[in-house]
């Protein structure tokens, strides 16, 4: 099956603390039992009090209901996401926005370590106000596709430190994916594409 997303809005350049126009329904689905809703309410309230973004938690609940997951599984997923969100915020710093934290949590889920996220944050020293959301999404995607997380983190650190744009990071991801589909090993694909991207950046005026 050939699937193609024609439009990918590439430059997620809103400031880290910018308010997000997300319109998530912040209610729990009525299909869930009352005890489960009460448990989820407590979990989400705790996350809110801790200052974590809660929209991903509501979305996770609705995804679970859509996928007909058992209620304990939905609760476990929300617990795990809450923990990942907390770890991601700790790694990315208090100034991280909701999108960065959510993308960071996703990267942790893909096998990255909190230290990888912290190093990425340090790598963007020259663009300290630029969100790491795209870099984190690319990082999680590469790890999910079989690229060793440590290698993926090292490559992204290199690229972020060189001020590679978000659009170029997304192109980088697509190129690595194309190589993987073509049969190249993850390590080889990552190495070649990272070098090519760095060369491109050097040639850029």
């Amino acid at each position: 099956m050939s699937v193609r997303l024609l439009t990918l809005a590439v430059a997620f350049a809103a400031s880290a603390g910018a308010a997000r126009a997300q319109e998530v329904d912040r209610t729990l689905p009525s299909q869930l039992s009352a005890p489960t809703r009460a448990t989820l309410d407590r979990l989400i309230d705790s996350a809110r009090v801790a200052g974590l973004p809660v929209d991903p938690l509501y979305s996770k609940v609705r995804e679970g209901v859509f996928r007909s997951a058992e209620e304990p599984r939905v609760i476990a997923a929300v617990q795990r996401l809450t923990r990942d969100l907390g770890d991601a915020r700790a790694a990315l710093g208090d100034s991280a926005g909701a999108e960065e934290i959510t993308a960071g949590a996703n990267a942790l889920r893909a096998g990255l370590h909190p230290a990888d996220l912290s190093r990425l944050r340090e790598s963007r020293a020259r663009r300290s106000d630029h969100p790491l959301t795209v870099a984190l999404v690319v990082l999680a995607d590469l790890a999910t596709r079989g690229v060793p997380p440590a290698m993926a983190a090292a490559s992204l650190n290199e690229l972020v430190a060189r001020n590679v744009s978000d659009g170029s990071l997304l192109s980088f991801r697509q190129n690595v994916e194309r190589d993987l589909v073509g049969g190249r090993s993850p390590a080889s694909a990552l190495d070649a594409r990272t070098r090519a991207m760095i060369d491109d950046e050097r040639r850029r005026p």
Partner: protein
């Protein structure tokens, strides 16, 4: 406003309306006399001439209780229709007419939405020639499988839909004839807690 839980509520109202109201015989006779003496309502001749026999005249006589019941019924139906319409609007909050969708065919950042809208047009496309139904589910439509169906584009045969999404990171998947599948051409979300992977789309702020 919500509909009464008992589906027999209409029958109950009808039965209540049919129930004869106790009236003294003398009052009943006087009422009938008054009705008989009352002049017939006039009908404008020009209207009659214009429509001739093609127009059927309908006359329904209802009492005060009937009026009340009819008004209640109309309010309930109106509220129900409004609820359904609002639900659909909420679920399809990102959908946008075709002329805007055409603007989203660029593989780059799609801008041009009014700044006040705080949304960007994103076009999702799927090549699934054997599929009979394709829908999009995700964090932007509350994972509602009936909210965002894709339609087959006659020229290409691809399934497409364009949405106006708020800035942010959105997780989504396609539902192809009931099977949930990620978008292999988009970044993958790692948090597949429920068995099958999802994809990620990032939407920038229109102001950036």
């Amino acid at each position: 406003m919500s509909e009464p839980e008992d589906p027999r509520w209409l029958d109950r109202i009808a039965a209540e309306l049919r129930r004869e109201v106790p009236v003294r015989p003398a009052w009943r006779a006087r009422l009938l006399d008054e009705v008989a003496r009352a002049p017939k309502p006039s009908v404008r001749a020009d209207v009659d001439d214009a429509f001739g026999d093609r127009r059927r005249r309908w006359s329904v006589t209802i009492g005060p209780l009937g009026s009340l019941a009819a008004a209640t019924l109309l309010v309930a139906l109106g509220a129900g229709a409004t609820y359904v319409a609002m639900s659909r609007v909420g679920a399809n909050a990102g959908q946008r007419p075709a002329q805007s969708a055409a603007r989203a065919t660029s593989p780059q950042l799609v801008s041009g939405a009014p700044p006040s809208a705080e949304r960007e047009v994103v076009r999702f496309e799927l090549s699934a020639p054997r599929a009979s139904h394709v829908a999009l589910v995700g964090s932007f439509n509350e994972w509602n499988p009936v909210a965002t169906p894709l339609s087959r584009e006659p020229a290409t045969g691809k399934w497409v839909v364009s949405l106006r999404l708020p800035p942010g990171r959105h997780v989504y998947a396609f539902v192809v004839d009931g099977d949930v599948t990620a978008d292999p051409s988009a970044p993958r979300a790692a948090d597949d807690d429920f068995g099958s992977p999802s994809s990620v789309v990032l939407v920038s702020s229109p102001r950036t």
